[in-house]
């Protein structure tokens, strides 16, 4: 904790708590997850930034989508995302969640992940180095500070559109809507 930020802590303790205690849900998709073990262990030590993997989505507030998302994985991602308590932040890791990457013409891969769940930031590259995770984390701090990491608010606001997109690609969802969907 920086001593210069004491005023900020007293003004908005909740916001500072969200900034410096980002617990990431340990959810593996694609090849990007191979960069996560080195970044949480001795070599790069994500814990000094307050980033820690948790085993359960209920305890987490950061969701790293680490690599290409197949249609089948998307269903698990949506369920995990909806289980996380608000406020929650999502970061797309690698070029595949951004636009499909090297799977740009695959029939079974999601090309634009932000059509299905809201994304707060992207890490470009194939693969991004573990340092890029920390650049993303510090950037996420700035976004949280300026109230710009508002993915969970967007999800609530445009839920009917997100839900329609999800149902379109997954051919129907077997769970009820998270938020009430207004008619029309």
């Amino acid at each position: 904790m920086d001593r210069n930020q004491l005023i900020k802590w007293l003004e908005a303790p909740a916001k500072m708590g969200h900034k410096y205690s980002l617990h990431a849900v340990y959810f593996c998709t694609g090849c990007g997850i191979i960069e996560v073990p080195p970044s949480i262990t001795a070599r790069w030590d994500a814990e000094r930034f307050g980033v820690l993997p948790t085993a359960s989505p209920r305890q987490a507030n950061l969701f790293l989508i680490t690599g290409y998302v197949s249609v089948k994985t998307l269903k698990a991602i949506i369920r995990t995302y909806e289980q996380m308590p608000e406020p929650k932040y999502t970061v797309g890791f690698g070029s595949c969640p951004i636009n499909g990457g090297m799977y740009w013409d695959s029939y079974n891969t999601i090309k634009h992940l932000d059509k299905y769940i809201p994304i707060d930031g992207w890490i470009a590259g194939c693969m991004p180095r573990p340092e890029a995770i920390f650049v993303a984390v510090t950037h996420l701090w700035t976004l949280i500070d300026k109230d710009m990491a508002d993915g969970y608010k967007r999800y609530r606001k445009y839920y009917s559109q997100y839900r329609a997109n999800q149902e379109k690609v997954l051919l129907g969802l077997e769970w009820p809507p998270l938020f009430p969907i207004e008619a029309g």
Binding site: G17, R48, A55, Q59, N61, P87
Partner: protein
């Protein structure tokens, strides 16, 4: 004055427990050759968790945590803390023996309500481990009670202050050894980290807790760390007439078991119970027989 300490001593226990949690993360990081999180990281986590939205799973889910937290807060009143002992004159060791089971029991009630299979496995492991360490612990406590002829912890601390620490006196050294062997299980440290086991059963009973529920569980965890170590210091290391020396003794014991935690992998549950019912129980039984033979 006594009323003030009645309110102040759970607060001190809470602060000490949370600082111990932060210190444990820092020390573990240094053993792994990492820089580690700031010392106040558990405080930041708790602030974050309290400000998050959380989902309840029923009335028992809410009440179980409250029961567990209340049980832990009450024990802190019965434990002498340096020269301060708000209620320990009236309670003694038997009250603590009863109340110590309320912590895991409350978590079990609350986690069972969530209906998650991982939580059920975690709860069954938690209670099995509790049965595992309660048997040797009971023998150790019986030996201490027989040796000093009293159930009052204040009295036991006073006798130790006058003569020597229990762990350094002749027949009780055997019981002290048994107590040292069960301490990692009581603290939930490796090699007995079977209850949470994040890699196996995704943090066990805690799997469905989020937001303020998880914050209360972490506070309860901090308190239970404080209670376990403080009981050891009072019974075996002679307590203290001074708060600072008492906290220093607690710190030494905590760091010692943290080193054990850092280098060991995890037992399976049946290995843990087999170990607990073999070596600490055997040594505790020998200690009890020795105390009974040598007498007071």
């Amino acid at each position: 004055m006594r009323i003030v300490w009645l309110f102040l001593s759970p607060l001190i226990a809470l602060v000490a427990g949370v600082l111990l949690l932060g210190l444990s993360r820092k020390i573990m990081a240094r053993i792994h050759w990492r820089y580690g999180p700031p010392l106040l990281q558990p405080v930041i986590d708790i602030i974050r968790l309290f400000s998050q939205r959380s989902a309840s799973h029923g009335i028992l889910f809410d009440l179980g945590i409250v029961v567990s937290l209340a049980g832990s807060l009450i024990i802190t009143l019965f434990l002498p803390f340096g020269n301060i002992a708000p209620l320990s004159g009236s309670g003694g060791m038997l009250v603590i023996l009863y109340m110590m089971l309320i912590g895991p029991l409350g978590i079990a009630l609350s986690g069972g309500e969530s209906g998650n299979p991982n939580a059920s496995i975690g709860i069954s492991r938690n209670l099995m481990l509790a049965i595992g360490y309660e048997v040797p612990l009971l023998m150790v406590l019986l030996a201490v009670m027989t040796r000093y002829g009293t159930i009052s912890i204040v009295e036991i601390v006073r006798v130790q202050q006058a003569s020597t620490w229990s762990i350094a006196s002749w027949p009780l050294v055997v019981s002290g050894l048994a107590y040292l062997l069960v301490m990692p299980a009581m603290l939930g440290f490796r090699p007995f980290e079977v209850v949470q086991a994040p890699q196996e059963i995704s943090s066990g009973p805690m799997v469905e807790y989020g937001g303020s529920y998880l914050a209360l569980v972490s506070i309860q965890h901090a308190l239970s760390l404080y209670i376990t170590i403080s009981l050891f210091v009072n019974l075996m290391l002679g307590g203290s007439g001074n708060i600072v020396i008492f906290l220093f003794k607690m710190l030494v014991v905590f760091v010692l078991f943290l080193f054990v935690n850092a280098v060991f992998p995890r037992f399976r549950i049946e290995q843990a119970v087999r170990y607990l019912w073999r070596w600490p129980t055997l040594i505790g039984l020998i200690g009890l027989v020795l105390v009974a033979l040598v007498g007071r």
